[in-house]
């Protein structure tokens, strides 16, 4: 636990040692705003809620979260510091969770900085703040899911560009698996159970459920177990690939 926190702190501060943190946060805020106002029609909808803001989060995260996760392990492998880190008295699990926690906290920071949206909508009307809070929690948990996938993929390569592209692709599959477009492809021939599993594996399905304002245990458990699974795969990836 102690080692996890020390690693997490180092990793978190590492984002701020380069312009990466600033660039990421500025782009994230600009894009969330742009989507909410121009694409989502925040004003023209005539409702005092943040539905138009949260609706685009899965698509933004799809692009931006792998950008945060790609460096976690690929950079360590490229620079050789993985040999330093893995010969310090820390377990691989400590290192994996510490790094993940740092990147997730960074996502949380970016998400927190969208608070002017919440303030604005409260000035303009009387939104259901419970729904908004639930949506924020859902968005944060979903970011964790994308991040766990990206971190694991990052441990498989020493090349950050490959880590980004493969990570984003896997994230895309998990996002799209609930979309009708993908389901149609399977519905013709695959057994119904497969189609249902695919639907239930989708980030969109679970995120939509949370943004309706109901934090259902099964949606949280879905993201929780998804994160746990990918972190476990991350440990395996580090263990087997660190020396190559």
């Amino acid at each position: 636990m102690r080692n996890m926190l020390i690693i997490a702190r180092r990793e978190f501060l590492g984002y701020f040692a380069t312009p990466l943190a600033l660039v990421f946060i500025v782009i994230f805020l600009a894009l969330t705003g742009a989507f909410a106002f121009y694409v989502g029609g925040f004003f023209t909808r005539g409702y005092a809620d943040l539905t138009s803001f949260f609706a685009y989060h899965p698509w933004l995260f799809l692009l931006l979260v792998p950008a945060i996760g790609m460096r976690l392990w690929a950079e360590e492998r490229k620079s050789g510091t993985i040999e330093l880190l893995m010969t310090l008295p820390v377990s691989t699990l400590d290192a994996v969770i510490g790094k993940f926690a740092a990147a997730w906290a960074f996502c949380g920071l970016a998400l927190t900085l969208t608070f002017p949206m919440w303030v604005t909508v409260n000035i303009l009307g009387n939104p259901d703040n419970g729904v908004i809070l639930a949506s924020y929690i859902g968005s944060f948990v979903m970011a964790g899911g994308y991040l766990a996938i990206s971190a694991c993929i990052s441990a498989l390569t020493a090349n950050q560009v490959i880590a980004f592209i493969v990570g984003a692709t896997v994230c895309f599959l998990f996002t799209m698996s609930g979309a009708q477009l993908v389901l149609n492809f399977f519905q013709g021939w695959a057994p119904e159970i497969i189609v249902e599993v695919m639907r239930s594996m989708s980030f969109l399905t679970h995120f939509d459920a949370i943004t309706k304002g109901v934090i259902d245990l099964k949606d949280i458990a879905y993201f929780g177990s998804l994160i746990a699974l990918w972190l476990y795969l991350n440990v395996l990836a580090v263990e087997t690939r660190k020396g190559s």
């Binding site: 380069t18 620079s79 510091t81 010969t87 310090l88 820390v90 660190k242």
Partner: protein
């Protein structure tokens, strides 16, 4: 302190380390010698717990690196090849991070960092980011990281690579100074380094241990060990050659260099030192000798002979 038993590592079709047995005791500085790709770094990585051995074991302070890697890592200071450090940190924040991970906090942390910084002399660059430092400074930051927690066992993969002669000297002094209560293993290409700091040297090639002994013992394996090199005027050279050939205990006599007026003669000993005997003979016969020197034998030559010859016999 370090005990390797039948240590083996196989990467696909390549056997990098092929059954190494070795023990390093407290107070020893072991020089790990071998050509590139001999398996030096792989062996060190296995002892440091970074790579899992294919078979065999490594014990550090009696603890098995396979079953209890974290405990081994606690007792170990390890400088990986190339001294990788986090480039975006400064030496000060980096060393503080290492200290905390090793469980050194508060005042003890500052004291440990200050002591390591002083030992490797990096006071001037503490607040500069590591990626902007010269190769020599980076290496020393890596070294500081390895000795920070005063570990009983130090494993340093090419600790003086990239340092200038003064820095090399300094690092060797540092290693010698710490050696008394530690077991130290250093890998190196620089053979003079072995003579300068190591109490023992092993030579490996193609993953096998080919020689093990003190630097002096290894030098004694040289065919040139105890050979004499004398310089005489050309006029007297033939007479000297004849007289030396008639002496007992001489393995070979050769004229290695005949200049405009001085000839260089090398006399190889059959066994032991022949310096006194040859000097006495030269004096009694009244030969005029311009220079006389005993050759120690070059570690380079032994290294080449063992690694090339030894490699071939195992192929």
């Amino acid at each position: 302190m370090i005990q390797l038993t039948r240590l083996r590592k196989v990467f696909g079709p390549l056997t990098a380390v092929d059954g190494i047995d070795m023990t390093v005791r407290q107070g020893e500085v072991l020089g790990f010698l071998g050509p590139n790709g001999a398996g030096k770094s792989t062996t060190m990585k296995m002892v440091a717990g970074f790579l899992a051995p294919t078979s065999g074991t490594a014990l550090v302070d009696g603890i098995d690196v396979i079953s209890n890697p974290v405990e081994v890592k606690r007792r170990l200071g390890y400088l990986p090849e190339g001294a990788p450090c986090y480039g975006d940190m400064t030496p000060l924040t980096f060393l503080r991070f290492i200290a905390e991970i090793r469980g050194i906090d508060g005042k003890a942390r500052e004291a440990a960092v200050a002591a390591a910084v002083e030992k490797v002399a990096i006071e001037g660059v503490l607040d500069q980011s590591i990626e902007t430092l010269s190769k020599g400074f980076k290496r020393r930051v890596g070294l500081a990281q390895a000795i920070l927690h005063n570990p009983p066992v130090l494993i340093l993969d090419e600790p003086t690579d990239g340092l200038d002669p003064n820095q090399k000297h300094q690092v060797r002094e540092l290693i010698r100074g710490m050696a008394a209560d530690k077991a130290v293993v250093i890998s190196t290409h620089i053979l003079e380094e072995v003579e300068a700091v190591c109490t023992r040297a092993v030579i490996i090639a193609k993953g096998r241990l080919l020689a093990d002994g003190t630097p002096a013992e290894l030098l004694a394996r040289s065919p040139l060990h105890n050979a004499l090199r004398i310089e005489v005027d050309n006029a007297g050279a033939d007479a000297v050659l004849d007289d030396v050939r008639n002496m007992p205990g001489i393995a070979a006599v050769e004229l290695v260099d005949a200049g405009a007026d001085v000839s260089v003669i090398r006399i190889r000993s059959a066994a032991g030192s022949i310096t006194i005997d040859v000097a006495a003979m030269l004096k009694s016969k009244g030969h005029r000798v311009r220079d006389l020197a005993t050759e120690k034998g070059a570690l380079d030559a032994i290294f080449r002979e063992i690694t090339i010859g030894g490699g071939a016999s195992h192929a």
